[in-house]
Amino acid sequence: MLNNHLRILVILPMYGGSLPVGRFCIEALTDLGHTVESFEAPEFHHAYEALKGLKVTGDRLEYLQNSFLQTLSQAVLAKVETFEPDMVLSMAQAPLSHQALKRLRKDNVTTAMWFVEDYRLFTYWKSFAPLYDIFAVIQKEPFLDELKSLGVKNCLYLPLAAHPSFHKPLNLSSVERRKFGSDISFMGAGYANRRVAFRKLVGHNFKIWGTEWDGDHVLEPLVQMQGKRVSSEECVKIFNATTVNLNLHSSIHSDKLVTGGDFINPRTFELCACGAFQLVDKRTLMDEAFADGELATFASMDELMAMIDDYLANPKQREQIAQRGQQRVLREHTYAVRMQTLIDFTTEQIPDWPIKKESKSLFPSHFPEKLKEDINELIHSLNLPEDVGFEDLVWAIRQQQGTLSDLETAVLFLDEWQKIYKKK
């Protein structure tokens, strides 16, 4: 573990779908034994939004927003300077400017972007992709070719995933089952194709969860919690409490309800990890992620309608498919697996990465046993691996909130003393 131990700075976006993905990446990297630090951009979102309340001219607002984002980029650079990561991993929409990315490249800091968005809709990747050392995406051709044509050397197909310690089977109370359960449910935003598709389900025991469903008088009675945002924790309860979870990938077009698109959304993996049954629209990249019998897929609305009735009547079949899907996801489609893939890819593609650092062992020779016990207890309380190096122990202590203990303070003091007097 010690040899492959990395320092990774994850740059979260201020908001949006890639935010929970970023948080799962942080947990997965930590579980893999790496020292992970996050740049908490969401904490700046309110201030950014407040600029919109100024009611100033458009060009002024533009200027202020850009200035604000430049400040955030500077904050990221400061964090990099202090933390000295082996990799800066940005999630889509991370507030990292062109200038900051150029600076990181100049400073020989390896950067990676996991672009967990549809490249056809979020077209800004053309501007940023060449500035990252690694650009990981959830789609393949022609996106990968297009990236290469822009000069992006290290493109990686890295589909979304689930985080099993979060997306898991739950024992729900009867109250929770009543609240979150139904024969059929859909959890997600009210995209155009979904609004049209789900009209056919009115009359079923069907609940719709999520935002952006307003203005649809037909579906409105089915929308839960007045269309408020559903937390990730509540999502897992919905997945667990529902007999048939619908998973219809989004489209901004209403003329084709089942689009047959390429990427697999995170809900597909999350539902599987929960051991929940889902009916999901067929995607072109699904065959390499799931085998027959691991997912129940549909290619048209007619097919979906028929499958709903079949599976509602067939609990055994539901259970078998859900179980197989769950096993596949837990084995191959977790964030831990994705992060390991990213690290392995970076090792292959970037020469001499990660840069070898001299890591001091925690205990010099003849170290008193009692002191060793106390430090091991501290390591345990900080959830660090037993073979943690001195530098990573120091960093973990620095992350503590509030005042520090005498031992924590002594470790930090020793670290600085060594730096001052170069006793390394």
């Binding site: 002191l371 005498d406 303070t409 006793k423």
Partner: protein
């Protein structure tokens, strides 16, 4: 009963220069004052500040191995840290802008810490500390370090109460060989000439050479450079005095001649008259002797004060004034008509704000600006001084936008 903690991890001179702050906390009479410092200075502190409770730690480089350092920090320091944390201090004065000080501050609630504190893993310096960093860019103005540290408290004791007025305590003359930075010291051959001249007019005086063990050889060489008749009444005490001996020796002197050293500050603390030589990076407006009645001979050149860490591109030209033919005559007579070029002479005196060096020979083009600046700072710390003429300009220079927009009650607002 309240508990106050002062964290002073710097050197000998800094420990003595913390006196006005310590005196202020003691004068409050409502609590117990503690001092955290390096092990090496604890014996001195127990003599200089007998009323304080000392908590010494390993902070300075002491030539220990990595293993020894680990044990000293994680065992010894840790025990002290545990004691400090348990004392739940009402106010902590964390004085040094050093990573070590920031880390110790992690023990304490940041709301109780003045100076440099630790806020959930973030190093933060209070407004007064930041202002000092700002004015350190205009060192020609500056204020004495003793006053800077004292004004972490708005109820700082009167400057004249800090040290006794300078007055001779005996016959002997002390010569301090050099400070930690040799460029800031007078070369031995020159010092021997000064010593000879002083000795000639103090015929019954013993000449005592003072310094640490690292100056023992310098003391021997100096001894050799003196005329033979003076050698008989000169004693090289470098490296031979412990703290108690040094205090005893310095406290019974007529005068000491010294560059900017800890011993110079000790003499000021004891009220022994000082003739201080300031050149190179040493700047008397920052670290001059504190108290009434000391003499400072300050080199003047456009490049002064310089930075200790920079190499001198002028071959230490600031020494020229000290090498001038008239220098010794001036040093002895203090007649302004014979002051050599490149030297300003000051008498130390206290005013309402702190130490104020009064020029009595030479020219000081920055004096007016310095007076304005002191008035500005005096207003800042709550003294009822008139508004300085360029208050707006100084305020722009000294305050940051965030001081105005997001003020934090950092410094002590203790009001009697």
């Amino acid at each position: 009963m309240k508990h106050y903690l002062v964290i002073q991890l710097a050197r000998f001179g800094d420990l003595i220069q913390t006196k006005r702050l310590i005196a202020t906390l003691v004068a409050r009479g409502d609590g117990h004052v503690h001092l955290c410092l390096d092990h090496s200075l604890a014996p001195l502190a127990s003599l200089v500040y007998p009323e304080l409770e000392l908590h010494s730690i390993a902070a300075h480089r002491t030539g220990v191995s990595r293993e020894q350092a680990y044990f000293a920090m994680l065992n010894g320091n840790r025990k002290t840290f545990a004691r400090l944390k348990a004392l739940k201090f009402d106010e902590v004065y964390n004085l040094n802008f050093s990573p070590l000080n920031f880390r110790i501050a992690a023990l304490f609630d940041p709301a109780t810490v003045r100076g440099h504190f630790w806020d959930n893993g973030q190093e933060v310096s209070s407004q007064w500390a930041r202002m000092a960093m700002q004015w350190s860019r205009w060192r020609k103005l500056s204020i004495n370090l003793v006053d800077f540290w004292a004004y972490y408290c708005r109820d700082a004791v009167a400057p004249e109460k800090v040290n006794p007025e300078a007055s001779p305590h005996g016959e002997n003359i002390g010569i301090v060989l050099s400070g930690r930075e040799s460029r800031r010291s007078i070369p031995l051959d020159l010092l021997a000439e000064y010593t000879t001249a002083i000795a000639r007019i103090n015929k019954s005086a013993k000449i005592l050479l003072l310094g640490s063990h690292t100056e023992q050889n310098a003391g021997k060489n100096m001894h050799r450079l003196l005329p033979s008749d003076l050698q008989n009444r000169t004693e090289n005490l470098a490296g031979k005095t412990n703290w108690a001996d040094l205090i005893e020796v310095v406290s019974s002197m007529k005068r000491i001649l010294s560059p900017d050293t800890g011993t110079m500050h000790l003499a000021a603390h004891l009220g022994t008259p000082v003739t201080a030589f300031f050149l190179s990076s040493a700047w008397c407006f920052e670290t001059g002797p504190y108290g009434n009645g000391h003499t400072i001979l300050q080199a003047t050149r456009n490049c002064l004060p310089c930075l200790e860490s920079d190499t001198c591109p002028h071959k230490t030209a600031c020494l020229e004034g000290f090498q001038a033919t008239d220098f010794i005559r001036f040093m002895i007579t203090e007649k302004s008509t014979v002051v050599p070029n490149g030297i300003n002479a000051y008498q130390t005196q206290t005013d309402e704000f702190g130490i104020n060096n009064r020029i009595f020979a030479g020219t000081d083009p920055d004096q007016a600006s310095r007076i304005e600046f002191r008035r500005f700072l005096a207003r800042h710390v709550g003294l009822n001084t008139p508004l300085s003429n360029n208050a707006h300009h100084l305020a722009i220079k000294m305050y940051r936008e965030k001081d105005w927009s997001v003020p934090r009650a950092e410094e002590s607002r203790h009001v009697l």
